[in-house]
Amino acid sequence: MAADVSLLQIFMDGVFIKNFLIIQFLGLCSFVGVTKDTKSAAGMSGAVIFVMTLAATVSFLIYNFVLVPLKLEFLDLISFIVVIAALVQLVEFVVRKNVPSLYRSLGIFLPLITTNCAVLGVVLLNVLNEYSFIQSVVFGVSAGIGYALVMLMMSGIRERTTLVNVPSSMRGLPHAFLIATMLSMAFVNYFGVIAL
């Protein structure tokens, strides 16, 4: 079914048209939680791109070469969760051992990714859309890039508006949500950039 979708289409879908954060509402906890300054937003985005790509790759292999042959598709959710948790642990070990500077800058963001619904969302959407191996990987990378793009835009705007004098009850989250409204309005216009 999904074999005829071009890679460019999948890429544009992941980054803009079906942007994970503000069109599909996946990964909102980190969207409002870690966008108070650009540095942590960048760290989180880097970690998410990394884990999303790996998760899309590994879960495709597990689903198609372990679960499907054994007719255990109903275990997909549980196995994906375990795969992502294990992957995050593994990435944490490797990064801590080999690139300590990167580990320090990613810090607490790596363990947080386990419960980030964007990562599980990529994996589940890959299964749902019946993407092939290459398509799954491209979708994982592009969803990560789309996530990073919006996180950086959001944190940039929030940083610049920290000193704005808003009514006291609007301060904090309501304010962030109104900024998100504007960003989301811009992204809605990407519908139909490529004929679907």
């Binding site: 996946l26 906890c29 109903f74 419960t115 959407l125 009850s169 904090g172 309501p174 962030a176 504007m182």
Partner: protein
């Protein structure tokens, strides 16, 4: 502890969405109509109640160092049940909610209640806590879903029965994603305002 006040606490002070700001993804994603809001909160409520009961029942057996992976496995089991039951008996609801049914597993409300409450209290209070949080979640979802459906389609219909209709041009904006952010932003501001007033009165 009085069971009734524990129940009310889940709706007011510890309301999952407005009090604790947990579970934002489903709150915004599935509230395009009241039907979806009810379906989503029913699924979440089932998982929350079952996982709270199970975690609370097993809390003396679960070693503290590996409790989180165990919680996640317990939750994932119940989510798989909801996923399969919905696909079999409510196919249209399943299609509308899509990927958000399996994503209940990473809904912070459930693991949050397991960690913060069920892990420390007995089964009866954990059940009350789960019921309260589920009711709070349902109320918020129906409220947001109602506002978006009313303004976005010009009427409210619950499972095919038209309840309200208002003579306006439907604002498609409200059904699309910006409408969700706008609605929750404004609702949160109102909640903050009410809280600040209550605080000023000394309540």
């Amino acid at each position: 502890m009085d069971p009734l006040s524990e129940f009310i606490r889940g709706i007011t002070k510890d309301n999952p969405v407005f009090g604790l700001v947990l579970g934002l993804c489903p709150t915004l994603a599935v509230t395009t109509s009241i039907d979806n809001a009810i379906g989503m909160s029913a699924g979440t409520a089932f998982v929350l109640i079952c996982s709270n009961l199970m975690v609370s029942g097993l809390r003396k057996q679960i070693p503290a160092s590996v409790r989180l992976p165990i919680f996640i496995l317990i939750i994932a089991t119940f989510v798989s049940i909801v996923d399969m039951v919905m696909e079999a008996y409510f196919p249209s609801m399943f299609a509308a909610l899509g990927v958000f049914i399996p994503l209940i597993v990473v809904n912070c409300i459930i693991i949050g209640r397991a960690e913060a409450y069920a892990n420390k209290n007995n089964m009866f209070y954990s059940l009350i806590d789960a019921l309260g949080s589920s009711a709070g979640f349902l109320l918020v979802l129906v409220l947001i879903g109602g506002i978006r459906e009313l303004l976005g389609t010009g009427g409210i219909a619950i499972f095919g029965t038209q309840l309200v209709s208002i003579p306006i041009n439907p604002i498609t904006f409200m059904i699309l994603s910006p409408g969700a952010f706008l609605t929750i932003g404004i609702l949160m501001a109102i909640v903050n305002h009410i809280r600040a007033k209550k605080l000023a009165r000394g309540g």
